[in-house]
Structures are given as structure tokens and as C-alpha cells.
Amino acid sequence: MSDRIAGIVMLIVSIAFGITASSYEASFGDPLGPAALPVMLSIPAGLLSLALILRPDPDPAWVTGAPLIRQIATVALLVAYALLLEPLGFLLSTFIAVTLLGRILLSGWAKSALSGAVMSLILFVTFDTLLGLPLRALPKALS
């Protein structure tokens, strides 16, 4: 079933890809044009998706319960970290992210917070000071 769903999704993507690509035009004499290769790709991609729909493999074991919640929480945490890195500053956002990740990985609050504090400092020194990547250390509101 999973393969069928993936096949259907890929089939829709391939068709949309081919149709979108076929509208691309270049104004001057290029023998290939911007549309040719994407259109050429969409055809085998669509056929392979059909093959996936018609001859699916047995389903993989999908995750359920607590591990699934942990995975969703991790992805949400990563997205939030990416968005908050600039407004909150590196030290605070990394401290929070590492602490929560530690919790998700079933460590205790104290140990996670300690690793968060140590890691955010080490990484800040390594990347900002030693490697010269300009990072905002403190929240925007403070500076």
C-alpha cells in the first residue's frame, strides 16, 4: 500500500512536472531549449511511478506511538530552531534546542540542560571565534 501511495504521489508530480516544463520557451536558437530535458525526464518518471503502483513491494514497518511522536517533535523542534536562530540569538536558541533534543532522546532534564549549555558555548566559540562565521550571540531585543 505504501508503495502505491508513493507511486501515485510521484505520478502526479511527474505529470505536473512535465506539463509545467513544456510551457518553458527560450527566445533564441538553442537546439535543446529549457523544456526538452524536463519533459524527457517526466515520461520515464511517470512510467516508473506506474510500475510502483502496479507492482508494489510489501509494506515497510511504519512507526507508531511514542517513536512517531518523538520524530514529529524532533522535526518541529528543528524547524522552530531554524526560525528562532536569528531572533533569539545563537546561545539561547541552541541551549533550548539541545536541551529539548536531549529530553526527546530520553535523558534527564539536568543532564540535558548541562549538555545544552556546554554545547552551545563550545559550538559558538568554534564557529564564531575560530572559524569566523558571524553568529548573533544574544537575542535581538537585547542588542
Binding site: P31, L37, W62, S112
Partner: protein, 509 residues
């Protein structure tokens, strides 16, 4: 003789203090990355590429550092196979079969030393092979025209799944996904914006490094979250620190057999180190398993796969450097590095940048010696790294990936793209769709289009040019044969599986 002169120049490049220091650093970090379960060589090299940028290294230095990391990973993978019965990376799976039983029998230090020596023999064999064969292949590849390159890329995509028995439909679909992702952004020849949906962030297309780190490193974290409950890891005690020399020299001819088989597997497109280790083990078992000791801690069962996987990793560098077509996941990542450094691999690399090629090859010789020395007396240090708890290791990997990607363009957008690729990579791996063809498509897509475009410009738009050159025809023939073999194997596998399932009243859930 010319080769030796060039190699001599290479040593002059590799032995400058900076490059030597980077090689040492690479070997050390690589061994750790290889040893830690959960960070394979692909992840390790991909995460460290941005680091090479932020250090502002010269292309040759960056390449030397990452190649040493690559070699180091291959040495390191065996450590957790032997100590924990968990392969540190995919090619090290075969080493668990005899390595762990031997360690359980109180000979952990011997097993580690034997495998270090086997790794050294395999990797050195492959490096010598690289020295001798790569210039020949590069010389031949000069005769390749654009149409031939197009055929070569078609072959690379069609054969990357190899004859491993994985569902060939899925492998091909994976390559298509990669190529489709590669066509996002401005078309280089006409300047048409393709699939950008009006977002200026997408005008440059997807940075392959962002995609690779997401696909491999982030998806690995998601996988770990799924399996973290199953099985506690219990480390075998190391025993005596430095084993006796005669306990180490038990491999004999298994070293050479493993090296030769591994090297050949490495050169073949799409086969790579895992197949090298597997084939070496299978052959060695047939040759030496006279008393039924294989699987119970036979030293030759450690020597063969270790020599095989290290020889294969060296061999895999040959198609990557000479043709610009990587044969494995890790070499695909190295190709991403070269492209990001504005170095175009391929036959011209050898004539245009001899300093880089030969410096790299010389540094591989140095890396091998360094790794052998590091891996016998210092092995205690690496085994201690294995007891690092995952709740420190995983966040660390995530944060370094984040900062590495953030350092490329200082934008959160790239980081979000990386997370999206991580989720995509997780879903694809769950569905048993290999990620290596995706990466290959992503990396080679624009080159493939450019060569097609050049070929058609030469012929004035006549598509017949694609099949008139004998080289191209030969490549298409090989493609066809490999594909036919892959489909045949996959179908016969399926049939036997179905027959087995029918034979049971209650198929296993």
C-alpha cells in the same frame, strides 16, 4: 616512469605542513566518525564539507582532508562492528559476522589489530591501483565527446543500483527524482527560471550539499529515534592493549584475495564498498572455510571483508576522478565537494590540475600509514568513544549540520530546505528507495543537460548524434546488459520469495 615523477610531485604537495596536518586531522576525525554507529561516511563527509569552506582551505587541501576522512571512516567502521556487533557504517556489516564472535572469545584486541592490518593492505592495494590505472582511464576518456558523456551519465543512473537485487524500478525512480530536483532553478543556457514558483531563493536551484546533509544526516537522526529502544549496546572488554605480532599476521592470502575482489567492485559503477566487503567474504568463505569456523570468529572472516571494503573505497575514487561519475554514496559526496570548489572532475582534471590529483593520491598513501599507526596503539581511545551517550552525540550531529549549512549562505532558508530533505530522505529510505541515485541525479543533472545540449549543437539538432559514436553505443550496450541483469535478479528474487511465502500456512507478519 612518468607516473612516478608525477607521484613524487604529489608527495611534495602532500607533505607541506598544512596538508600533512589536515591529513592527520582527517584520519583521526574519520576514524571516530566511522566508529560511531549512526554517522556513516556519507554523513560524516557531508557534514564536514561546510567546515572545509569556513576554514577557507585551498581546493587541494580541502580535498586531502576529506579524502583522509573518507579513508578514516572505512578504517573506523570495523571498530563498532567488533566491539558492539553494530556496524559503524554499511560496508562494515560483514565484519560483524566473525569480528564480534572473536571479540566475545576474549580476543577483541587481536580482532581489531587484524582488521586494521587488513584495512591497510586493502586500502594500499587500491591506492596503488589508483596510481596506475587512473591516468590510463583519464587518457582514454579524453576521446569522449558530449554524446558519449551523455551516454555515460545514462549508464551511471541506470546502473547505480547495480545487481544488488534491490527493486530496480525504485532505483531508477530515485535517479529520476534526483534529476528532477536538479532541474529546479535557472536554466544555465537560456536563463529560463524553471520550477521556482516565483521564489527567488530557488533561482540558484538546490545546493547539493544542503540536500546531502539533509538526506543523510537528518534522516539518520529520525531513524535513530525510531529504533532507540531496541537492544542495549553492550561493549566487549578490549583485553590486552597491544596484541602480539604473530597473532596479527594470520590473514595470509586472504588479504590479497579480499583486496583484488574489493578493488574490482569499487571501480564498477554503483557497486561500492558494501558489495566489495560482501563479495570478499563470500569468496573467502568458499576458499578457506574448511573446518566450518566462519561465523564463529575466524580471523580470515575479518581479514577478507575489511581488505575488500577498503580496497573498494579506493577503487571507487577512480571513476569519480577520471570520469566525474562517482561509484558510491561517499564518492558522490566528494564529487559534490569538488563541484562546490569549482573543480570539474573528469579526464581533463589530470592534465589541468596535476598538482591536485597527485597531491591527493600521495596523501592517500600517507593516510594509510597514519591510519595503521593510529589504529593499533591508539585503539583504546577510539573504543572509548563508543561509550559516548547518544543524547550527547545526536544533538551534536544535528547542531554541526545546522551550523555547517547555515555557514554556506547565512540564511535560515537553506536550513529549512535541509530539514525538508531530511524528512524526504527518511520517507524514501523507509520505502526502500536508495538515496545514492537521488544524490547522483542532483549532482550530475546539469552536466547531463549541458552535454546533451552540446551534442545537439554540434549536430545542428539532429538527435542521431547520440547513437553514432562507437563509445556511446558501447556504453548503451553495457547499460542495457546491467539493467537486464538487475531486472532478472530482482524478478527471480521476488518469485522465490513468493514461493517461500506460499509454502507457509501463516506468513510471518
Amino acid at each position: 616512469m612518468e607516473t612516478f615523477a608525477l607521484l613524487g610531485q604529489g608527495f611534495a604537495v602532500a607533505l607541506t605542513p598544512t596538508n600533512l596536518a589536515l591529513a592527520l586531522f582527517g584520519c583521526f576525525v574519520g576514524t571516530i566518525i566511522g566508529a560511531l554507529p549512526g554517522i556513516g561516511p556519507v554523513n560524516g563527509v557531508a557534514i564536514l564539507i561546510p567546515l572545509a569552506f569556513s576554514l577557507g582551505l585551498e581546493p587541494v587541501s580541502a580535498l586531502i582532508m576529506l579524502s583522509c576522512i573518507y579513508y578514516g571512516c572505512m578504517y573506523g567502521g570495523r571498530i563498532s562492528s567488533i566491539m558492539l556487533n553494530i556496524p559503524g557504517d554499511e560496508p562494515a556489516i560483514m565484519t560483524t559476522l566473525d569480528g564480534y564472535p572473536m571479540a566475545r572469545a576474549g580476543k577483541a584486541a587481536e580482532a581489531l589489530a587484524i582488521s586494521a592490518l587488513a584495512s591497510f593492505v586493502g586500502a594500499t592495494f587500491a591506492t596503488v591501483g589508483l596510481t596506475l590505472f587512473a591516468p590510463l582511464l583519464a587518457g582514454a576518456a579524453i576521446y569522449f565527446g558530449p554524446a558519449d558523456y551523455f551516454a555515460l551519465y545514462v549508464m551511471a543512473f541506470a546502473t547505480i543500483g547495480g545487481v544488488t537485487g534491490a527493486n530496480p524500478f525504485k532505483t531508477l525512480l530515485a535517479a529520476m527524482i534526483g534529476l528532477m530536483i536538479a532541474s529546479v532553478g535557472l536554466d544555465p543556457a537560456t536563463g529560463t527560471a524553471r520550477f521556482t514558483f516565483g521564489s527567488y531563493h530557488l533561482y540558484d536551484g538546490f545546493n547539493p550539499i544542503v540536500a546531502i546533509v539533509g538526506l543523510f544526516a537528518i534522516s539518520e537522526v529520525l531513524f535513530y529515534l525510531e529504533t532507540m529502544h531496541k537492544g542495549d549496546r553492550e561493549m566487549v572488554p578490549l583485553g590486552r592493549a597491544i596484541p602480539r605480532l604473530r597473532d596479527v599476521m594470520v590473514g595470509g592470502w586472504a588479504h590479497l584475495r579480499g583486496s583484488v575482489i574489493g578493488f574490482i567492485c569499487g571501480i564498477l559503477p554503483g557497486a561500492g564498498a558494501s558489495l566489495g566487503a560482501f563479495m570478499s567474504y563470500v569468496v573467502e568463505k568458499r576458499v578457506s572455510n574448511k573446518n566450518g569456523t566462519f561465523g564463529k570468529g575466524d580471523p580470515k572472516g575479518i581479514v577478507a571483508p575489511e581488505a575488500g571494503n577498503n580496497a573498494a573505497s579506493g577503487g571507487a575514487l577512480i571513476p569519480m576522478l577520471t570520469l566525474g561519475v562517482p561509484g558510491s554514496g561517499t564518492t558522490a559526496v566528494m564529487l559534490a565537494l569538488l563541484i562546490s570548489l569549482n573543480v570539474q572532475p573528469g579526464p581533463l582534471l589530470f592534465s589541468r590540475e596535476p598538482e591536485m590529483v597527485w597531491g591527493l593520491i600521495a596523501s592517500l598513501y600517507i593516510a594509510n600509514v597514519v591510519l595503521l599507526i593510529m589504529n593499533i596503539p591508539m585503539i583504546g581511545l577510539f573504543t572509548r568513544m563508543l561509550s559516548l551517550p547518544q543524547w550527547i552525540l545526536m544533538p551534536f550531529v544535528v547542531m554541526v549540520s545546522f551550523l555547517g549549512i547555515y555557514s554556506i549562505s547565512n540564511s535560515s532558508f537553506d536550513v529549512l530546505v535541509m530539514i525538508a530533505f531530511g524528512v524526504l530522505g527518511f520517507l524514501l529510505r523507509k520505502l526502500d528507495i536508495s538515496l545514492v541515485p537521488v544524490i547522483l541525479g542532483l549532482l550530475l543533472g546539469s552536466d547531463m543537460e549541458n552535454n546533451l545540449r552540446r551534442a545537439l549543437s554540434i549536430s545542428g539538432g539532429d538527435p542521431l548524434i547520440l547513437i553514432t559514436s562507437p563509445i556511446a553505443v558501447g556504453l548503451y550496450a553495457v547499460t542495457f546488459l546491467v539493467l537486464a541483469a538487475a531486472f532478472y535478479l530482482s524478478f527471480s528474487n521476488r518469485r522465490s520469495q513468493r514461493a517461500a511465502a506460499d509454502g507457509q500456512a501463516n506468513p510471518p507478519v
